[in-house]
Structure formats: C-alpha cells, structure tokens
Amino acid sequence: MRVSFNVNGADVTAEDVWPGESLLYVLRERLGLPGSKNACEQGECGSCTVYFDGVTACACMIAAGQAQGRRVRTVEGLSQGSERGGPRRLDDVQEAFVAAGAVQCGFCTPGLVVQAHDLVERTVGRGGPVPGDAEIREALAGNLCRCTGYGMIVDAVRLAAERRAASGSGA
C-alpha cells in the first residue's frame, strides 16, 4: 500500500508498504531517515521516539497506515527545523547533550533528545519553571541507556532547560 504523510515539514510518500510494518520501518528503510533507532521493537527502550501529531511516541508501535496524513517529526527535524539558524544548526537540547557529554555509545541519544525536547517545550517552552531532576527522570522513564550514563543525560536536559529559560524566547 501507499502511505503519505508529513515528515519534518516535507510531504512524503512511501510506496509498497506492507500493512503490518511500523512507522519506524518506513522512516528508516523507505524514507532514508535512520536517526530514529531500531532496538527493542516493543516500546520498551524509547530509541525510536518521534513526535507524532505533536506528541511523543515510539515509532515502532505505530502501524505505517496510521501515519497516513499525519505529521511526524524525527530527530533529523530538530536541527533542520531550528528557526534560529541554518539547516546545520543543532537544537538547544542537542547542543546541551554535546556540552554535558551526555553521549556514550550514542544509540539511545536520538530518542532521548526527542523526548527531552518535548519536556523542555512543555515546561520552560510554555513559560514554566526549569524541571527538577525528578520530573526529568520521570519524563525520560521510557528511554533506556544501555551505557547507563543517566547522570550526564539528566545534566544535559537540565542545562537545555536552563539555557532556554535564560534566553527567555519561545523559539
């Protein structure tokens, strides 16, 4: 079957989609967007976290056909979608992961970045306070880091939120 939807602002169409395949498979194997990682395929690890119509979800748990006509934003779309710079500019959350050294093997990083981006948007992005560590940990409860580098990941998210709050802009 054919599935058309919007990814990172661009309308795309995937052909010859098997009705039982996941959105994750479509993104990675048919649309050349390998940023969302394929690890557990059961919603356990969060490595394939994407925005689906504005809320975060595991792309492995979404049937391809359910994406028809929907809006998907992947980790590739965080930097490219940045309003403050050119297409190569990283998002604030990505910059914070670099600055805090929150990346070890890197496999969980794309999913964590998307989920952390959502937390920052829903807190300081809406004029709220910088989330505390408990709130950060709870927001990231569905993202597993096999290297267990959670301390620096939490540091990175806090840093991203603090920078965002200090910049005072909604961008």
Binding site: M1, W18, P19, G20, E21, S22, E41, Q42, G43, E44, G46, T49, F52, V55, T56, A57, C58, C60, M61, I62, A63, A64, G65, Q66, Q68, Q115, D118, E138, A139, A141, G142, N143
Partner: protein
C-alpha cells in the same frame, strides 16, 4: 494482510464483522509487538484511530463516558477529578511515550490480567460499552473478564467506551513492579469507597487469570468502617482487610514474582490503600 481505515464507528463495526480474523488497533502498544516479532499475522488491521466518536470523553448521565481510544495521558491530565483511581493507574502505565498512545479500550479488549486499568474499573463498578453492526450493549466490568485474556466481547464487537461512575468517596490505586517506571505490574490493587451507599469496591491485578475483586474483603470493610464518625479502623480491622484481599488472589510464580510475594504485596497495598482512603474520607475528600 489488509489495512482498513474506517472513519466512522459504523464503518469500523462493518469492518469488524466483515473480518472475523482482523485485529483492531488503536495505540498499537500490544498489537505492534505481536506484528514486529512476527508472532501473529492477522488477515487485517482495523485502525480505530480515525473514528472521532471513540476518541471523545465527557459526562453521560451519572457517568463519565470514556471513548475506547482516549490515551492514558488524557486521563491523567483531564480526568483526575472524575475518575481518581483510574487516573492514578493511568499515571503508573509504562512511560510517557506509551501513555501518549495506549488506551483503556485496548486494556479491556486484550484483557491481560496485568493491565493497569482493570483494578480501578472493578473497584468503581465501571460499565463497558460494546457495539457490533447489530447494535450496542453495556456489560458491567465485573462481568466482563471471563477467563485468561478472554472477555464478554463477541467476535463481531468492538469496545466503544467505558462508563465511569461519578466518585462518591475516596479512591486509591497502588502497583508493585520490579522498578518504579516502565514495568508490568507484579501485583496491583485499587480501592473505592462509596460514602452514599456505604459500600466498598476493590480490584486486584496480576494475581489471578483475570482481574478480580475481593468480595469478602469488600463486605467486611463496609460493615466495619465508621461511615459516620470516620474514626480510623482498628489495627485488627486493617490487618483482617489485608488478609481478606490477599485471600481473594490465586497468583502464580513467574519471572516477575512468586505467588507468595504477590499475596504479601497485596495485603500491604490493601492496608496502605485503606489508611490513605480513611484519611481522605475524614478530610471529606471525594
């Protein structure tokens, strides 16, 4: 395999009856695991995510009608007042990403004994609304679970909504897992006091082939509670309530926990839920 995208409930029910081997999908948190691991290859997927009626919630008579595809996140954010125990359970489901997708309708249709929504639905006496092309019917949730992963839902029916009674007293939910997040429960317990009828409701998860109530514990507590003065129950009453709740379970040993641990955990959760509820009741909280 076919992928069917009904856009109305009528179309969805027609698809259901035309494809007895088809599998309805909403949040996909169960169905996609089966597909990804090639454990199951249904003749059709019936996507319910485009049926507006299933995604709505709001007051309906004395109930809150919760459409089958409303995600857990919406329950946490919007229904904590109207369905306190269910909202607490919804908050304990998996992770934010899963709560954004998973649904009570899916919990009911798959009827895993570990489903987090079941204990509060049992404790509060919720009613399941199901429909087929022939019409709708309502099944009290206390009659809905028939055997392991089997329900009163017929082959040609879909779960369309669950009707949540207006709370008439404190409601609690407690869950034991191997860690704090992202776990399938080892045991779960829900307690609901109805101060108007002076009745007690319970729901137990992950401790029997189906979600179950502890009816003897309910009757015992309803008779022992000081509904007028709201004085704290005696130590002996609290302990006996815990014992009766644990006695209603028929747990098994599995990789998540032993039967003995599950019984122990249930008694502890029941005593705690009772203490929290009496405190709330005394404050006049409902």
């Amino acid at each position: 395999m076919e992928f069917l995208s009904p856009s109305t409930l009528e179309e969805a029910l027609q698809a259901r009856s035309a494809h007895p081997g088809g599998v309805p999908i909403a949040g996909g948190t169960d169905v996609m695991v089966e597909l990804n691991f090639d454990r199951h290859r249904p003749e059709a997927l019936i996507d319910l995510s485009r049926v507006p009626e299933l995604a709505e919630y709001g007051p309906d008579g004395g109930y809150t009608r919760l459409g089958a595809t409303v995600p857990y996140t919406a329950i946490v954010e919007h229904l904590a007042g109207r369905a306190p125990a269910l909202a607490r359970a919804a908050r304990a489901v998996a992770s934010p990403q899963i709560r954004n997708r998973g649904t009570v309708g899916g919990n009911l249709a798959s009827a895993s004994p570990a489903g987090d929504a079941h204990p509060p639905l049992l404790a509060t006496g919720a009613v399941v609304e199901v429909a087929s092309a022939a019409g709708r019917r309502r099944v009290p949730v206390r009659e809905f679970y028939t055997s392991l992963r089997t329900t009163a839902l017929r082959q040609d029916e879909l779960v369309t909504a669950v009707l949540l009674p207006e709370p008439k007293g404190p409601q609690q939910f407690a869950k034991i897992g191997t860690r704090n997040a992202m776990v399938i429960s080892v045991a779960a317990f829900s307690l609901a006091l109805d101060a108007e009828r002076r009745t007690v409701g319970t729901g137990l998860g992950s401790v029997a082939p189906t979600p179950v109530r502890a009816e003897r514990a309910e009757e015992f507590l309803a008779a022992e509670l000081d509904w007028e003065g709201a004085t704290a129950p005696t130590e002996a009453v609290v302990r006996r309530f815990g014992e009766l709740v644990a006695a209603a379970a028929s747990p098994i040993d599995d990789q998540r926990g032993s039967a003995a641990y599950r019984r122990h955990a249930l008694a502890v959760m029941a005593r705690r839920a009772l203490a929290w509820s009496v405190t709330d009741y005394r404050k006049g909280a409902t």
